[in-house]
Subunit: 297 residues, 2 copies
């Protein structure tokens, strides 16, 4: 089997596994699947869960596309060859409760037909209200997974996430970060191509158990003020995804399936002019939306 | 008086005039002003109206800034000189009712200290539900104003607006368009510098009477379905402003006053996965979000 077919198969299985896990965690709603084909080659399976017990809106996308890259993209990537294959699994979950964080994960593989390849990915957590112990749990899960593959990964990818998941115009991180990596291959790490695929899959399998720990306050009471704050934090999430997120920009520019790309946006979001935090919890959360915090300590 | 001081004074007066007009039209709320200074030179007056009878959230910004342009901007503009002055008035209004359109206007002047200058601006209407007669009224107002200055302006600037106020990734215009122009000076038009300022001010004075005509259905009953549709159309407005709008991008990249730049975003917006229109009015509106419609006929 060609390596790219193996990646495709493994990522499809990963999507299945995560959807099964999330349906169990939600306890009420099921995923609805839309399969789609890409004009230039390949396609995907977009799976959306809505109006669940835990999840208001969530998407788990799988795609495997191939074809010819437009010049704007080969220039941006700094590559010569333009025949590509790309596959990945992308997740964004928006829970009902402001006491449960938004979460995002993406693992992806990219190759050109001249043999160039790389893996990319990331997982980050966006609590509406930051709870230190839960942020610590999350980073511990990621570190454990990273350490099993390469002891250098966690520290390096944690800094990368702080820099990537950042609303520059607000001088604010999106949440408590996580890990982010791109263009990872055997030249840029201690791992072989096959081991990098294993790392991607391990990260994918960390997703459900790591998120389950974050849902401990799913049934806590919610005040109207907490709901209002959640909608504003979702507004910041929209800002990040539309202004900075590379995957979103790539999708919009290459005319991908819009509904799959923008499934990352919440059902509802708010912007309030010149809002100043009205509670200690809001204030403390804002103060922790900074780069460089060691959540493990 | 130097020309740039004249522009600044006239634009300040224009902001005053429009705010007075809008308070009268609203009938309940008043503008609140935040004055701000820019670190590199100049500043502005952001005026926000909220929770009015007609308007849910509206901003009328005036700014006059000067200083040194970063290289990224001089490169993007294709200019050598980097000492600049820029002044403008920017407006976005989000009404309560889905039966009243969102409206945007901007008039601006830019000069470099080597004598290079240009005017830019635009005004466009985003009805949640398109009403042909109201779109016609709006375009007639704009054509009347344009024709009084240069008979070529309306046709040229109408096409420019169709192309500019366009959500490429949705293949959808933002609304029924209007006019848009940029880098207008005596070389690119039949008008002198002074006459171009007059044109900008005429356009500014067209704003209130043109919008008043659009508010005829402000007290019509609103169904929950119409409200839901309004929130989704606002979502598209957010997409345009964060993904494409040049003024917003310029502001975010040059670290302008964020709350003034993002006052254009609505209080609330929604995204519903793969939404299909559920009424004739929704469907007909979508069908008219196309370039090249002659609203005057």
């Amino acid at each position: 089997m060609r390596f790219k077919d193996q990646v495709k198969n493994e990522f499809e299985l990963l999507q299945d596994e995560i959807c099964t896990g999330l349906e169990k965690l939600d306890g009420k709603a099921n995923f609805h699947q839309d399969s789609w084909d890409r004009e230039g080659g390949g396609g995907g399976r977009t799976r959306i869960i809505q109006d669940g017990d835990l999840l208001e809106k969530g998407g788990v996308n799988f795609s495997a596309v191939e074809g010819v890259l437009p010049e704007s993209i080969t220039n941006a990537l700094g590559v010569d060859n333009n025949e590509f294959f790309a596959s990945g699994v992308s997740i964004v979950l928006h829970p009902h409760s402001p006491h449960v964080p938004i979460i995002h994960m993406n693992v992806r593989y990219f190759e050109l037909n001249d043999g160039t390849y790389w893996f990319g990915g990331g997982i980050d957590l966006t609590p509406h209200f930051i709870v230190d112990d839960l942020a610590k749990d999350f980073h511990e899960s990621l570190k454990t997974t990273c350490d099993a593959h390469d002891l250098a990964f966690y520290d390096e990818f944690k800094v990368w996430a702080d820099n990537y998941f950042f609303n520059q115009h607000r001088n604010e991180t999106r949440g408590v970060g996580g890990i982010f990596y791109d263009r990872l291959n055997e030249e840029k790490s201690s791992l072989t191509k096959e081991s990098l695929l294993e790392f991607s899959l391990s990260l994918g399998r960390t997703f459900c158990p790591a998120y389950e720990k974050q849902t401990v306050y799913r049934n806590s009471t919610v005040t109207p003020e907490e709901k209002r704050w959640q909608l504003m934090r979702r507004g910041r999430y929209v800002e990040f995804n539309l202004v900075y997120d590379r995957g979103t920009k790539f999708g919009l520019e290459t005319a991908g399936r819009i509904e799959s790309i923008l499934m990352s946006l919440p059902n509802d979001a708010s912007w309030i002019y010149n809002y100043a935090p009205t509670s200690k919890a809001e204030k403390e959360t804002l103060e922790k939306l900074k780069k460089g915090i060691n959540w493990l300590s």
